[in-house]
């Protein structure tokens, strides 16, 4: 009986053992599968970084113009008192005018620069020489690493840069092991001695004072498990740690640990990994850390926020001493080294503010990126996105908008509003016309209040900013017809009239109902005369104007109504910038781009935005129009820019809508274009302020500061255009007696031939001409042939509604010439 009993017990035991073994085996396999799968497939969630352009330093450059020291601080360079020693240090001696910089290595697409020490020798703030301190040679130029505009985060704001094991100095690894797991290379995932030791210490202390987890266990906990403190979780952790050790090498585990470890907070963002922590707390890469700094970093792992050197320096120093002593005890360092490390001064480091420096631009960019990449990739794959954004110009743009709007509100208190959402707004975009690169973009006054990007999203009436499109269409018509109707000196009737279209009427009115009669094309544009412009539009036709607008780069719908000519169709500032950019680029279209390159975390290119160009406007027409727009700046609605101190060759145009709800200014030098819009989101009127009062001052200030330090350049006439000195009044070739002479641009072969007779002595002498405007009684729609010979001379029809008689004693053979050649 007893034998049967023990037999049953034995069978049950064996059954339980077998079942337990099977279940245990299955559990083990399940864990093993989980560990291997997740560990092997583990991808660090690294936010993508968006970079601005690198700063180029070369002889002749004023360091004040490029805000060199501000730029260095934004790049997290630390000013040191003595010699530069580590990457990221710089030193400046104002007496000798020497700047020494220890540049970090830079991996910009297409070119890589190793870390190097350079010196800038200054003379009155200008760089005289750039010298490589490593070999003493002079350099033509040097580039800093590009500045990070922002990072694209997922929901968890985690800062991390993944490092390879060999990139981490061995002393740092030793410090880490001394602090966290001295027998790391001896145990198999679990350190029993340490568990017992920790248990005993906790019992003696009566509370938890020491942990028994190895690095492997900590890694497992961070990778797979929750932070709950239960026996079950602990057992799973132990099992997984053993499995991990069985399948992966110690170095692989350590490398993962170095990248996974949490090391504090930077505002809302968590610092993960040894590289990111070294940069954040000490402004250095791990390889540049001193022994004391390494020890401190290793000591922080236990409680990162408690021992953070920037917040609790005393605690941090005490913790550092503990680690240093432990390292000395383990034989990792000598006693002298330990003593030196323990006495290292904990430098008061300036932690740079980490915030999005161009939020509207980043939103714009992100929308572009999301066309090609899922959000998950952008926020986790650690892409490097290089843009053309010029941080200096971006800061200027933000600054001029803030100051410009504040000034407007101070001068005109009625523009002030109660709530931030209703406040006066402005936006600015700056483009390099030749490349289409967006150099600066500010979409509004305050991103925190409104994320609406007015540059790309606000469809507003452009007002007179659209008029140059009409004039360009007229110049293109002239190119085809060569009848002299639309040359810069051609006369346009600026009087009230009614345009009949589709059984409707439209009567354009001038500003303050002031009309100028017969005016040149140049004056009509310079003074932004509505009636004259509308007449040109009527002559040219709305379809050609629309076609010209589309070729320039407008993409919004442009209804073919007469009011289109005066800027009634709604467009975005980005479109305006694009269109004027084509003009500035001699008629060559280049699409505006925010992205230059995208590379993966290893620097391999994924996407490159290459420069493509397309001739859309004849360069002669683009130049003639630019020349006319230079007149706007010289003596037209943009003249205030000159008064405000912007003296460079520039072309521009103001814009104001009928109800004063939009104020624009767009202007360009040969290599920089900027558009400024000012208005209320609610379309409230800007009192009686137009583009010249509201937007132009902001544009002017931006351009003055943006172009400072660069040599002024003039617009270069293409070979098909001839500049002729003409009398401003008559448009004929100027004589020495003409009081107002201007250089006028004409397509070759259409230059005036005759000299101005008005101001010549004895203007009625033989050979001279007298031009007599004659008002005809012909109906407005009746067209006089361009040239008719009358008894008095040659009857010239400049417009259907107006004629000019030239009395001439010229050789009769001249009468066979086209009339415009007589001028």
């Amino acid at each position: 009986m007893q034998r049967i009993f023990w037999g049953i017990i034995g069978i049950v035991f064996l059954g339980l053992l077998a079942t337990g073994s099977v279940l245990g085996w299955q559990f083990y396999h399940k864990l093993e599968h989980e560990v291997i799968t997740r560990f092997s497939d583990h991808r660090w969630e690294v936010p993508s970084k968006i970079y601005a352009q690198p700063l180029l330093l070369y002889p002749g450059l004023s360091i004040a113009d490029v805000d060199l020291f501000a730029q260095l601080e934004r790049l997290d360079y630390q000013r040191v008192e003595k010699n530069i020693q580590a990457r990221g240090d710089y030193w400046y001696d104002s007496e000798t005018g020497e700047v020494h910089i220890f540049l970090r290595e830079s991996t910009y697409p297409g070119r890589q620069r190793p870390a190097r020490q350079i010196a800038l020798y200054l003379d009155e703030g200008h760089i005289q020489h750039v010298v490589d301190l490593d070999d003493g040679t002079g350099l033509l130029f040097i580039e800093t690493e590009p500045e990070i505009i922002t990072r694209l985060y997922a929901q968890a704001w985690e800062e991390r840069r993944v490092v390879k094991f060999h990139e981490v100095p061995s002393l740092l690894v030793k410090a880490l092991l001394a602090a966290e797991d001295q027998r790391f290379f001896e145990h198999q995932g679990v350190d029993l001695w340490r568990v017992f030791g920790a248990g005993w210490a906790n019992v003696v202390a009566g509370r938890t004072v020491q942990g028994g987890s190895t690095l492997t266990q900590q890694l497992i906990k961070n990778f797979f498990l929750s932070q709950e403190r239960t026996l079950r979780r602990k057992l799973v952790e132990v099992c997984m740690a053993v499995i991990l050790e069985n399948h992966y090498s110690k170095l692989q585990i350590l490398e993962n640990y170095l990248n996974e470890i949490y090391l504090g907070q930077r505002g809302a963002k968590s610092i993960f990994g040894i590289w990111e922590a070294a940069r954040f707390y000490f402004g250095k890469e791990p390889r540049d850390l001193t022994l004391g700094e390494m020890a401190l970093l290793a000591g922080m792992i236990k409680a990162p926020n408690r021992y953070a050197p920037n917040r609790h320096p005393e605690r941090a120093i005490r913790r550092r001493s503990q680690i240093v002593q432990r390292m000395a005890k383990l034989g990792d360092i000598t006693a002298e080294e330990a003593q030196a490390a323990a006495q290292e001064t904990l430098g008061r480091r300036r932690i740079p503010l980490e915030k999005n420096k161009a939020p509207y631009f980043v939103d714009f960019l992100r929308k572009e990126l999301e066309k090609s990449y899922p959000v998950g990739i952008l926020t986790k794959a650690g892409l490097n996105i290089f843009t053309a954004l010029d941080m200096r110009l971006q800061h200027i743009a933000r600054d001029v908008i803030q100051k410009g709007l504040a000034e407007l509100e101070t001068k005109h208190p009625k523009l002030q509003r109660e709530t931030p959402e209703e406040r006066l707004q402005a936006c600015l975009i700056a483009i390099q016309p030749q490349t289409g690169r967006i150099l600066a973009l500010v979409g509004g006054r305050d991103y925190q209040v409104s994320q609406f990007n007015r540059v790309a999203q606000a469809h507003r009436q452009p007002g007179s900013v659209f008029k140059p499109v009409v004039y360009l269409a007229a110049l293109e018509r002239e190119r085809n017809h060569k009848d002299g109707w639309f040359l810069p000196t051609s006369l346009i009737n600026d009087t009230p009239f009614t345009w009949f279209y589709e059984d409707k009427e439209w009567s354009p009115r001038n500003y303050k109902d002031k009309y100028f009669g017969m005016v040149t094309l140049r004056k009509a544009l310079a003074k932004s005369l509505n009636a004259a412009t509308a007449r040109i539009a009527m002559e040219v036709g709305l379809e050609p104007i629309r076609h010209t607008a589309l070729r320039l780069g407008f993409t919004s719908p442009l209804p073919a109504y007469p009011s289109l000519a005066l800027g009634a169709a709604e467009v975005t500032p980005l479109e305006v910038a694009q269109a004027y950019s084509t003009l500035a680029n001699q008629g060559i279209f280049t699409a505006p781009t925010a992205i230059k390159w995208i590379t993966n975390p290893d620097g391999e290119p994924l996407k490159q935005s290459t420069l493509t160009v397309e001739q859309r406007i004849h360069p002669d027409d683009a130049y003639v129009l630019t020349h006319l727009l230079e007149g706007v700046m010289a003596h037209g609605s943009g003249v205030r820019a000159r008064g405000l101190g912007f003296r460079r060759p520039a072309a521009g145009k103001t814009g104001t809508t009928n109800d004063y709800s939009d104020a624009w200014f767009v202007g360009y030098t040969p290599d920089l274009l900027a558009v400024v819009w000012v208005g209320f989101d609610q379309h409230a009127p800007l009192l009686k302020l137009g583009g010249a009062q509201a937007a132009l001052p902001i544009w002017t200030e931006f351009m003055k500061r943006a172009t400072a330090g660069t040599p002024p350049t003039a617009f270069l006439p293409p070979p098909g255009v001839t500049l002729v000195a003409v009398d401003q009044e008559t448009g004929l070739r100027a004589t020495p007696s003409c009081p107002k002479v201007i250089q006028e641009a004409f397509p070759n072969g259409q230059e005036p031939i005759l000299s101005c007779p008005y101001h010549a002595p004895g203007s009625h002498a033989p050979g001279s001409v007298r031009r007599t405007p004659v008002r005809t009684t012909l109906p407005s729609r009746h067209r006089i042939p361009p040239q008719t010979t009358s008894e008095k001379g040659i009857l010239l029809s400049l417009r259907p509604w107006q004629a000019v008689v030239i009395e001439t004693s010229l050789d009769p053979s001249n009468r066979a010439k086209p009339w415009w050649q007589l001028f």
Partner: protein, 210 residues
């Protein structure tokens, strides 16, 4: 009498020989610009990604062994250039070296960087035009070359000659002989001795439809 007869007999032979020589020369160098163009590659300029160079190297295309020395057009002397333009020329130089080694992606980056730094300098556009033509994009090449032409001042006749000559070659390659002839003729206005343009004009069929 005998001598005159000999001359009469030999003259067509000499003319024929000259035509053959010109034909061989032009077909060996005309269309395939990148291989044997006026700016064939030379050892100046590093390919190791370093963008810096020593100042005593002149910092531009006019330095010894550089583009200016071997090419018929001479770029403005460095003294006439601003610092920014000199830096841009350095990028052009490096881009050209990369182009010569058929590292097209890198060359493009460098040419574009040169344009970004000095957007009113024509040389980056010129080489982008050459490169895109080599890569088979004639329209883009013509647009780049037009831009280069617009930026070249009228006294820069050598470069204008090169640019217009290359435009002629592109048109010729596309079979647009009328346009090619116009560009070659334009080239001769700037550079009357340009042998490529001269030979091309001799070579092009008279009939535009051809």
């Amino acid at each position: 009498m005998v001598a005159a007869l000999l001359v009469l007999l030999i003259r067509p032979l000499l003319v024929w020989l000259a035509v053959c020589l010109i034909f061989l020369w032009t077909h060996g160098s005309q269309i395939v610009y990148a291989e044997n163009g006026p700016f064939s590659s030379h050892p100046f300029g590093e390919e190791n990604g370093k963008v810096e160079t020593q100042e005593n190297e002149g910092g531009g295309l006019a330095s010894p062994g550089s583009l200016a020395e071997q090419a018929s057009p001479l770029v403005p002397a460095p003294l006439r250039l601003s610092s920014q333009e000199r830096v841009a020329l350095r990028f052009v130089e490096q881009g050209r070296t990369a182009f010569g080694r058929e590292h097209f992606a890198r060359a493009r980056i460098l040419f574009e960087r040169a344009i970004e730094i000095a957007p009113l300098q024509p040389y980056g556009y010129y080489f982008l035009g050459r490169m895109t033509f080599d890569q088979g994009d004639a329209n883009q090449a013509l647009a780049f070359l037009l831009k280069a032409e617009l930026l070249l001042t009228q006294d820069n006749v050598d470069w204008l000659g090169e640019t217009t000559c290359l435009q002629g070659a592109i048109h010729e390659d596309a079979g647009d002989y009328a346009a090619a002839r116009l560009r070659y003729q334009r080239c001769l206005e700037f550079s009357p001795q340009n042998l490529r343009a001269l030979s091309a004009l001799a070579r092009l069929p008279e009939d535009d439809a051809g």
